[in-house]
């Protein structure tokens, strides 16, 4: 069966986010494997000039809804985003273009609007997928459950489908194309009303410009082995030496040493970076669940029997207070080359 696929991509400060290229490349792959048409859409201002960057990953048609025009339909002031207006715009575009598959990234925004779009378009949801495949013309998806302790393969029996892709998992490949047809969405036809702005973002608070663990490709996490919150500068310095984010175990978050936004594990964030360095973390099962799908795991711990070593690709048994500074220096040397 041939499908019509709508891929929604996100931008920030006038550039498409990395997740946008992941979504376009994967949507393009599904489209070519099923002989389907792909339309890409974005909501933003000043992103038209970046359209070519999407073309390189397989987009040849881009629809842009102007954010300021959308927000002008609200009587209250909106700072960038309102989930209901975004959901409505995307759902309406899916309907008017007869798209039976909508693909987006499982970012904070993607997760916020996925359920709403699914209800509006009557779609089954494959969310936070880590793999998609086509069998007999139908899409099946793999997604982690129990924070990655197990995986499920799912299929849908209903018509429409909404798919969200876990960020950082799908590696986008360039197709070599550069041509893209850009079209502006006529907001007037979407009938946005006051009720589409029932909750609006008034302000965004950026936390110290730090890279978030959920988005990072390299993560350095610290646990109770660091002995106190003051020693986390070691973790921050090690992370900085490789351009990574800092993470934390549940024990140190519950102890108040680190903010919960850094917690990796079943009641924190599930991450799968290329490199995960666990320092002074023994490896409780709920922590392992959140990070064991990382491509390369390095463990540093004084206890040679710590469970973290059982899943580590590399490990050093020893004192974190000696090893972390040495490793930071070594990384700095190597990265400078």
């Amino acid at each position: 069966m041939s499908n019509k696929i709508l891929a929604f991509v996100e931008s920030k400060d006038g550039n498409f986010k990395n997740s946008a290229f992941e979504v376009v490349a994967e949507a393009n792959k599904i489209a070519s494997e099923t002989g389907s048409e792909l339309i890409v859409m974005a909501i933003g201002s000043d992103i038209e000039s970046q359209a070519k960057s999407l073309a390189e990953y397989g987009a040849n048609k881009l629809l842009i809804a102007d954010l300021n025009e959308i927000n002008s339909k609200s009587s209250v002031s909106v700072f960038k985003y309102s989930p209901s207006s975004f959901s409505k715009v995307i759902s309406e575009i899916a309907k008017t273009h007869n798209a039976n598959i909508v693909i987006l990234s499982a970012t904070s925004l993607g997760k916020d609007i996925a359920g709403r779009i699914a209800i509006r378009t009557g779609s089954a949801v494959f969310n936070d997928c880590t793999d998609l495949k086509i069998t007999d013309g139908k899409i099946t998806a793999t997604r982690p459950v129990y924070a990655g302790k197990s995986l499920i393969e799912i299929k849908s029996n209903s018509g429409n489908l909404l798919i969200t892709l876990r960020p950082n998992v799908f590696k986008p490949h360039k197709t070599g194309e550069t041509d893209i047809d850009v079209e502006k969405i006529d907001i007037g036809t979407l009938n946005l009303t006051e009720s589409d702005f029932s909750s609006v973002v008034k302000e965004i608070i950026v936390s110290n410009e730090k890279l978030d663990v959920a988005e990072a490709d390299r993560i350095v996490s610290g646990g109770r082995g660091l002995r106190g919150p003051e020693n986390f500068t070691l973790i921050e310095n090690l992370a900085a030496s490789i351009g990574g984010a800092t993470g934390a175990s549940r024990a140190v978050v519950d102890a108040g040493w680190r903010p919960h936004s850094e917690q990796v594990g079943q009641t924190g964030k599930t991450v799968s970076p290329s490199l995960y360095i666990a320092c002074g973390i023994s490896g409780a099962i709920q922590h392992l669940a959140g990070m064991s799908s990382s491509k390369c795991i390095v463990a540093i711990n004084k206890d040679k029997d710590a469970p973290i070593f059982q899943i580590a690709n590399y490990g050093i048994v020893g004192d974190v207070f000696e090893i972390i500074p040495a490793l930071t220096d070594e990384f700095k040397k190597v990265m400078a080359k």
């Binding site: 209250v76 949801v125 969310n127 299929k155 965004i204 009641t267 390095v298 059982q310 050093i316």
Partner: protein
């Protein structure tokens, strides 16, 4: 203030997952079940709102008889009433749960409907927003701070690298994130009081799943790799391997 908090029962986060023989679910043997940790934040927030504004807290769950355990835990924390929307089957997806909760909620005129942002079993994060869409209310999820004053809602929502300050109006659906509060531990008095609170039952409204599990499996086992034992003397070799063998830096 009429406050409804939707709760679910999940395997404890220390559970070591084994796949059952039918390859569609986990093996239940030896698994202990708890109130979903994110729902504890929702129940706590509901109780705090009741303490501030008066009213009642109703804990609602969709599921089989087993789900009553989640309601009982909410009772122990201090919820006033409990409702089980009773499903005959234990096989339901997010859509199915959202439709059943919505059908119940439509007749309730609650001022605020609280959820944990996700359950720690299927990690969907879909249900609060699906419910809000089905009953036509605003929704803010992944909330780490909530203020409600004269029907005006100001919430902080956690996003990558920061927080969004969101303004909306009650009635509203809220999904709670860790950090919003410290859930109380039930005391002996509340545990005793919980025993006499009845759970009202209502039959499921629908049983439509939109997705089907083809197979559940364990992730590929990780084998342990190269472990060095000379402390900082091994650092340069480790970095060389990360660069030349693993190619990650």
């Amino acid at each position: 203030m009429k406050i409804i908090v939707c709760v679910s029962l999940v395997p404890d986060s220390t559970t070591k997952v084994k796949v059952s023989d039918n390859k569609k679910s986990i093996d239940d043997a030896g698994v202990s079940y708890i109130l979903n940790p994110y729902d504890e934040f929702a129940v706590e927030e509901a109780l705090k709102l009741k303490e501030k504004y008066g009213g009642e807290v109703i804990a609602v769950s969709f599921g089989t008889d087993k789900a009553k355990e989640a309601i009982k835990k909410a009772f122990q924390m201090g919820a006033d009433k409990g409702v089980l929307i009773k499903s005959q089957s234990s096989d339901f997806d997010s859509f199915n749960v959202a439709v059943n909760l919505s059908e119940y909620l439509k007749g309730q005129s609650a001022d605020i409907i609280l959820f944990g942002k996700q359950s720690i079993d299927f990690d969907g994060l879909l249900i609060p927003s699906m419910v809000s869409e089905l009953i036509n209310l605003p929704c803010i999820s992944v909330v780490v701070k909530l203020d409600i004053e004269n029907g005006k809602v100001i919430a902080e929502r956690e996003v990558e690298g920061g927080k969004e300050i969101i303004e909306s109006q009650a009635p509203i659906v809220i999904g709670t994130q860790k950090g919003i509060n410290e859930p109380r531990y039930p005391n002996l008095k509340s545990i005793m009081a919980a025993k006499s609170k009845p759970i009202e039952e209502t039959p499921a409204y629908s049983n439509e799943n939109k997705i089907e599990i083809v197979e559940m499996k364990l992730p590929p086992a990780k084998t342990s790799g190269k472990i060095f034992t000379n402390g900082k003397d091994d650092v340069s070799e480790l970095v060389r391997l990360l660069r030349e063998e693993a190619k990650v830096i």
